[in-house]
Structures are given as structure tokens and as C-alpha cells.
Symmetry: C2
Subunit: 504 residues, 2 copies
């Protein structure tokens, strides 16, 4: 025994010795009431200092794995045995097995079925991937983040590490309320809840507003954010999609649907700026028209503030929640995950005070509160003025890539219709015959992947001729090369298509 002890370099030796002996006890190699080698012997056996062994033995006793007999040494303490061993039977054969799959409910099964990450395309090394719309981490100003953390720790210290409040970190709430006021929002009668990103906020709002007695009904842009489709479905909502036009949702169709199905929608989910996946900005005229309809039919609006910061041209556009003044019909959900650091899980819900009060209790019941470290780093980062500096840099870089991607698409994919006024991606619509799943298959063989657009559509079979190109994390060279490859494959597909038409 004690021959297989191996030191690693990056952990304190005392802990390695302690855990090594603990393992021997757990595995039964050292048994109850067995005497451990003396500290001097053990020091020789493991080739570590005797003081190290003394400290490790103390630790084992503190943890209840051993007991000391004064003047004699350390002995292994008795432990509660395994259940199977109690029966005198082998562990493996009689181990208690539950069929978990059979016990999981519809919600759990749907969560797996709708989890697109699990059906995601696994890219080989060297593949040019246009699937991500996460920010480019090379732009992150680590020094500023580090300083924000140290500054805040210096000011608040221990407090940051103990329990915080379900509603959120107060200085951040105050800051973000001001941030939203600067977007033109009248905050009278409104309040804010900090969440762990957009998704948590959206899921909690749906949990609170989903009707108890029947399936819910939601209306949204079609296509739309696939996570939102997933969460609506998981919460039992029927979804009615309204087609997108070049300047946002088709208002006539929206009105037609609302007229024929009066009183039947529990909520609307809308992404008015740099919509996902189309990248379209809802025009000022349409904003006004949409909001008048929502008000007339009394349909609460969940506004996704997605990517609002990544505006490359045109005038400032106020969010929908800014258009209703002191009205409380809009719930705005914001996040900096596309522009700043998604690893910091921070988002916010801004809405009517009574609603936020209920959401606060739901938040407390679900996760107690959002990480205080994340919230306080973000707050200090803003306070230090880093955000403005960073957004300026990020916007310049993404704008460059956006223009490059656009230009490459226009050169190599002339048959595709482009959309995307900002943000980190473009959306392409091919002539009806082109199936982008087929195109993806062909491109994957050539080392290029993208996101087929059908998964952003409400009904199966829609949008099979569309795709989303995320450019934020692709190098200039790969943007050019990748789009050229997609272009070549699309041309072949289109030619085959034409031949088939002629021959049929």
C-alpha cells in the first residue's frame, strides 16, 4: 500500500495527502479501527515532509474519517456502509435501479426534444462555422473586467459574497433604470427585476402569465428566436406567427388575425430591433401601428431588447416600451449577452410594478437571486465608463465584419435575398427550390456550416429555403472563403433544380 501516491504540481501537498488517504478509507483499502502508519513512517512512504503528514492527519480527523488515540496514533473511523453490502449481496447485481425515463413528465421530455443544442451540428476542427451569434471574445477588455471586480471588492468586500436580494443588486437596478430612461422609457409605475439573462426572464414571465385552466395563446413574428419558440411551447402556448416584411412584422396580417381571433391571445412576443433571425428593424411607422393594435386588443407585449446596442446606421430607435409613456402594457426584457459578456449571466425585466413584484417571488422560488459577483462586476464596469468605450470598439469591428459579410453575400450569393440591419448575423432567403438543409449537408462536406433557417419558423416545413449567417466569431479570411463555398454549393443545387424542372 501507499505505492501509488503521485503528486501533481498545482495543488497544495497537504490536501493531496489527505485526499489520498480518504480515498483508501472510502474504497475500503483501509478499514475501520485499522491503525494508520505513524506520521514519520507515512512521511517516508509518500516522500513528503513529516509536517505535511501531521497536517493531513489533522484534517482527516477534523472531517471524521479518523480518530486519534492519545499516545498511540491515528485510527480509521467506522463509516456507514453501502446498502447492498448490508444485505451481504454484491453491489453491482442488486443495485437499486429506477427507470427515470419512464418517470419523466411531458415537460422534461419536451425540454429534451426541443433542445436544439443536442441536435446541433458538431463541427470538425478547421470547419468555418457561421452558426454562432455570440460575441467575439477577442474584443473583450479583460483588464477592465478585472479592474471592475477588484474595485467592487475593495468597496464592498465580504458583502458581495453573502446572500443578496431576489430582486437584484440595488446599484445595478438603479443604473439600469437610468439606462432605460435614457432610451426614452417613462419609468413611473414600473419596476425592475434582475435575472440570469434573457431566457430566465422570458421563462418566468411565461410561467406567471400562462393560463391555469387552458392552453395559452401567443402571437409573434415568424420567423423568430428559436429559444423563445421553445420556451413558449414548453409552457404550453399555441403560437400564431405573423410574417415579416422588409420593415418588420406585416401589420395588415397582424390586424386581420387579431380581428378574426378577438380576445384569444394572452400575449405577444416581439423583437423590434435587429430581430432574430432576420436582423430587421421595425420601422417607426409600424412601431406605432403595432402598438395601437396591441392596445386596442389589450394584448400584453413582451419586448425582446436583443442586440439593441448593435446599431450600425440610421437614427436612434426607441424600444416599444418607450412608446407607451406611463402605460404598463409592455414588458421589456434586456440582456447584454450579445454585446458584452454572456458568461456573466445577467439580464433584466422592466415592467409594471405589480407584475415585477410577483416575478420577484417566482425568482426567489427558483434561484434565490442572480450571482452578486456577476451583477457587481457589470455595475462597476458601467460605472468606470468601460461600457461606452467597449461598445464603440465592438460596434466598429462588427460593423466592418457586417459590411464584409454583406459584400461577400452579394458577390457569391446573388440569388439570395439578404436581410439584417445590424447585430451579429445576416439572414438569407433563397428561391423556393433551394433546401438549406440540403445545402448545409453539401457545405459541411466542404468544411463550412451555418444555421438552417427553418428552426426559427413556427410551423414545420416553413423557411426551408432560408439560413442564418452569424459572422461575429469568423475571421475576415474565413468569411470570404466560407461564403464563396456556400455560393458554389448553392449554384450547383440551383442548377440541379433547373435540370429537374426541365426534365419533368
Amino acid at each position: 500500500m501507499f505505492q501509488d501516491f503521485k503528486l501533481v504540481s498545482d495543488r497544495p501537498v497537504v490536501i493531496q495527502v489527505k485526499e489520498y488517504v480518504k480515498r483508501l478509507i472510502i474504497k475500503g483499502a483501509l478499514q475501520a479501527d485499522q491503525k494508520l502508519p505513524s506520521t514519520r513512517e507515512m512521511s517516508g512512504l509518500l516522500k513528503v515532509s513529516r509536517n505535511t503528514v501531521i497536517a493531513a492527519y489533522e484534517g482527516l480527523e477534523d472531517d471524521g474519517y479518523t480518530y486519534a488515540v492519545p499516545g498511540k496514533g491515528s485510527y480509521v473511523a467506522a463509516m456507514v456502509g453501502h446498502l447492498a453490502a448490508d444485505n451481504g449481496e454484491g453491489v453491482g447485481s442488486t443495485a437499486w435501479q429506477i427507470d427515470w425515463k419512464a418517470r419523466m413528465n411531458d415537460y422534461a421530455v419536451s425540454a429534451v426534444d426541443l433542445d436544439v443544442m443536442k441536435q446541433g451540428i458538431r463541427a470538425k476542427k478547421g470547419t468555418i462555422s457561421f452558426t454562432s451569434i455570440a460575441p467575439d471574445e477577442q474584443l473583450f477588455d479583460l483588464g477592465d473586467v478585472r479592474r471592475a471586480f477588484l474595485d467592487r471588492m475593495a468597496i464592498e468586500g465580504q458583502t458581495l459574497l453573502n446572500y443578496g436580494y431576489a430582486k437584484g443588486y440595488k446599484p445595478l437596478i438603479d443604473y439600469l433604470m437610468c439606462y432605460m430612461e435614457n432610451k426614452g422609457v417613462d419609468i413611473t409605475g414600473k419596476d425592475m427585476l434582475i435575472t440570469s439573462g434573457f431566457t430566465e426572464g422570458f421563462d418566468m414571465v411565461l410561467s406567471a402569465l400562462r393560463p391555469s385552466a387552458r392552453r395559452g395563446a401567443a402571437i409573434c413574428e415568424n420567423p423568430t428566436h428559436h429559444t423563445a419558440i421553445k420556451n413558449l411551447k414548453l409552457q404550453g402556448f399555441e403560437i400564431t406567427g405573423i410574417p415579416m416584411e422588409r420593415d418588420g412584422i406585416d401589420v395588415e396580417q397582424l390586424e386581420a388575425v387579431l380581428q378574426t381571433q378577438t380576445n384569444s391571445f394572452d400575449l405577444a412576443y416581439l423583437t423590434p430591433s435587429y430581430h432574430n433571425p432576420t436582423g430587421i428593424v421595425l420601422s417607426p411607422e409600424k412601431r406605432s401601428a403595432v402598438m395601437k393594435l396591441m392596445r386596442r386588443y389589450q394584448i400584453p407585449v413582451i419586448e425582446d431588447g436583443f442586440n439593441e446596442e448593435l446599431r450600425y446606421s440610421g437614427a436612434h430607435v426607441a424600444p416599444l416600451i418607450a412608446t407607451v409613456g406611463q402605460g404598463n402594457g409592455v414588458i421589456y426584457i434586456g440582456s447584454f449577452s450579445k454585446v458584452l459578456f454572456p458568461g456573466l449571466r445577467v439580464g433584466w425585466v422592466l415592467g409594471d410594478r405589480a407584475l415585477i413584484d410577483a416575478l420577484e417571488s417566482i425568482k426567489r422560488a427558483r434561484t434565490i437571486h442572480t450571482s452578486t459577483i456577476d451583477q457587481s462586476i457589470l455595475y462597476q464596469y458601467f460605472l468606470n465608463g468601460n461600457f461606452d468605450k467597449y461598445v464603440k470598439k465592438a460596434r466598429a469591428e462588427y460593423k466592418r465584419k457586417y459590411e464584409l459579410t454583406r459584400a461577400c453575400c452579394e458577390a457569391h450569393l446573388p440569388e439570395a435575398q439578404l436581410s439584417g440591419d445590424g447585430g451579429l448575423h445576416l439572414f438569407l432567403t433563397f428561391p423556393a427550390g433551394v433546401n438549406t438543409r440540403q445545402l448545409l449537408e453539401a457545405c459541411t462536406k466542404q468544411g463550412v456550416i451555418f444555421t438552417p433557417g427553418d428552426k426559427f419558423f413556427i410551423q414545420e416545413g416553413e423557411g426551408t429555403n432560408t439560413l442564418r449567417l452569424g459572422f461575429s466569431r469568423v475571421t475576415d479570411e474565413n468569411i470570404e472563403r466560407g461564403i464563396q463555398i456556400i455560393g458554389n454549393q448553392a449554384s450547383s443545387l440551383l442548377q440541379t433544380e433547373k435540370k429537374n424542372e426541365v426534365s419533368s
Copy 2:
């Protein structure tokens, strides 16, 4: 105009100027196509350098709030107006109002009703409060936390700030799997999901296992953790509580219930070590007996690993999940929130691989993933060997306070029965006549508060003669003084009680 600009000291001046002008535009004090003062004029008006104004003006243009006319200056851009203003009506009078309370479902209403934090006792300044069982933040070793953050940032940098994985931060999962193996768990066939603390893990497990077609049924210790009661109720479970004895759950009663209600429980929720609120450790014999029953009746066990690290005496006790070998009937939920830093929202669920796979999708649908910063700080803190050092220190300090609290209770509250073998609190049971809500009312007037025990019981009207004393954040002096006051008030209550008995 421009007279009310006031500089604050802790923010960059450029940003203050930019936000000041932005506000004037938002409020309508500066209107569309109005010319801004020249940078030279503005510099004089605001008493800041001209370079600052130039930079602020650039920022306003970047954000789309203004536009530049070459050779002429900066002009205010047109913005999408408020909806009410479109109608030519005042904002306040016609603002769109939704009655959110009427739209909230049973879940949201229950979340508020069951939110004990909202009914919490607000303590006046100077009150001695025994209500908290959060760790004492004075023990936190800030320097080590800071170093863990900086070490990890130096190693992984930007990666930590971009999206992570729903399952959790890989190095932390590996570390915690090893940590659980060191507690005697056979991890074959098992897997782990990192959550934002115990509560999220518990809520997700309940969401996955709650029956779709009928109300669920759960069995647990009575009393038990009030957050667990809340979450079970919120997820629609009927709860059957089994009384506690000095060495844990009453096994005979448990067996009797299981025999009469065969096949009727979907799960059991148990806290075998330093149970909340009683502080009792389930004895080795009973652990074995409980697990045999659970296996016989095929009831999955959710084990709450709460406070397992705060053991002050006795041998090491393995968790229930360690007693089933390769069996998969136990789901262990762990967290360091009571021993380490609750502000870092990190917990874990260890259980059958198929179950964890479904929970991973639920986690992704709810919050994408847990804060990578929190996870990586915790991981590096362990790796640096800080945890062992800290637990040793914390355990010594809490043990001292625990013994002091016990001694004070024995001296001043001789009529109360004490329980609590470790952790951060003691549980007191008074003779049946003493109502601890009444006692609390009397003590509050004397500047002392505690948690009445009834809220830990399943049925209303149970445990009205019990209370929980959390000592972790109370000074020695206040422990003595506070318990003395509780003792005096309890004596008066008991005497009144006796007089009533005599006179009736």
C-alpha cells in the same frame, strides 16, 4: 438650459456629459433638428474641457441621438415618439393600463403567497436577530477569493466571459465528482449538473418529475426546510410529513404510511445530515432502514446535502447516495451556500445519467447556464487549497458559537427541548402551551427576534411551540443577552399559562 449640469466624482466626465445631453433629447427639451451649442460654447456652459465635449458629441452621434452637418455642427435626430403623443392626448390620462393581477395565474399568485421573505419580520436597528442561517461573512477570506479570480482569469481569460455549457463548467464538474467520490459515492452510471444553488436544482428536479395528469405526492420529514415545502406546493405536490425523532425520521411511522399508501408517492425529500430546522443527523441504523424502505416501495429520494460540511463531532457520515452503490434511486443536491459564499450561486445535482441529461435541457431552457465566473472562482478556490483551510477555520468558529448557544439555552431556557448536532442553528421545542408567535411578539418588543418553527411544518397549526435559533451571524455577547431575553419572556408566558390552567 444647461444650467442644471452637475458633475459627480466617480464617473468619467465624457459619459456624464453625453448622458446629460441624451436626457435633454429624451425629455424633449432639445427637439428634432435643433442645433446643439458648438463644442466651444458647450465647454463654457458645462465648465468641462472642449475635448470632453467633442468626445461626448461623437458618442451621441454613434448612438443615433444626433447627426452632424459638415461645417455646421451637431443636430438632434428625430426619434420615434410616445404612443399617447401620437394621438395628441396627454400621456398620463390615456396611458395603456393592463390589470396584471387579474392576468396572473395560480402559480404566480402562490409564489407570492408562499414567499415568506415578503412576510418576514423587519428588524429595527440594534435588534438581536437569530433569524439568519447564512454564513458569517466576517469569516470570508477575501484575499483568497480575489486570488482565485485572478488566477483563473490569467489561465483562461476571455473564454470565461463568453457562453459556457448548460451542464456546467467542466473543471468544476470533474472536481465535484471527485469530491462526491470522497464522500463514498459510486459515480458509475451517474452524472452531474451544475445549478445556481440548491433551490434551482430542487425546482428543476420537481419540474421534471411532477406527474403530468394528476397532482404529485411527496413524502418528507416534518418539520422540514420551508423553501422545499414552498417549491413542492408550487409544483402542485401533496406533501405527507413524517415526524422527527431524536435520531432522525420516525421509521415506524414512515413504514406505516408506505404500507397503507402503496404506489402513491412520486418522491421523497430528505435531509439526513444537520437537518433544517432540527439540526438532527439521521443515525447510521436509520439510514439503512430508510433506504431499504425507499427501495422496497421504489420511491426516488431527493437528498438535500445541506450543511454536511458543518460537522462538529462524531464520525464522518456518508450521504444517502453513498449507501446505494451503483443504484440510481437517489438524487443528491449539494450547495456550499451555508458553509462558503452564498453570493456565488453554485450548487449541483448528482444522479442517474439519463435524469441529468433531461435536467441539462431544462437548465438550458431556463437560464442557459450558471455564471461561469462564479463556477470558475469556486473551482480555483478549491484547487488552491483554500476550501480546506477555510472550512477548518469556519468549523472552529461555528463550533464555538454552537456550544455557547447550547449552553445559554440550557441556562436560560431549561423548559425547552434542544436539538441540533451541527450546522448554524439550534431548534427548540417548548411545552405544548407556549406559542412561539406570541413569544416572538413579546421578544420583538425587547429587541430580539428568531424564526417561529411553525413555518417548517407541513400542516398549519403544527409546531406552534417550536422555534429556530440561527447563531452564525450573532456576536457572543448578543447570543448571551438575546437568549436571556427569550428566557425571561418564555418564563412569563409559561407562568401566565399556568395561572390560566389553575383558574380555568
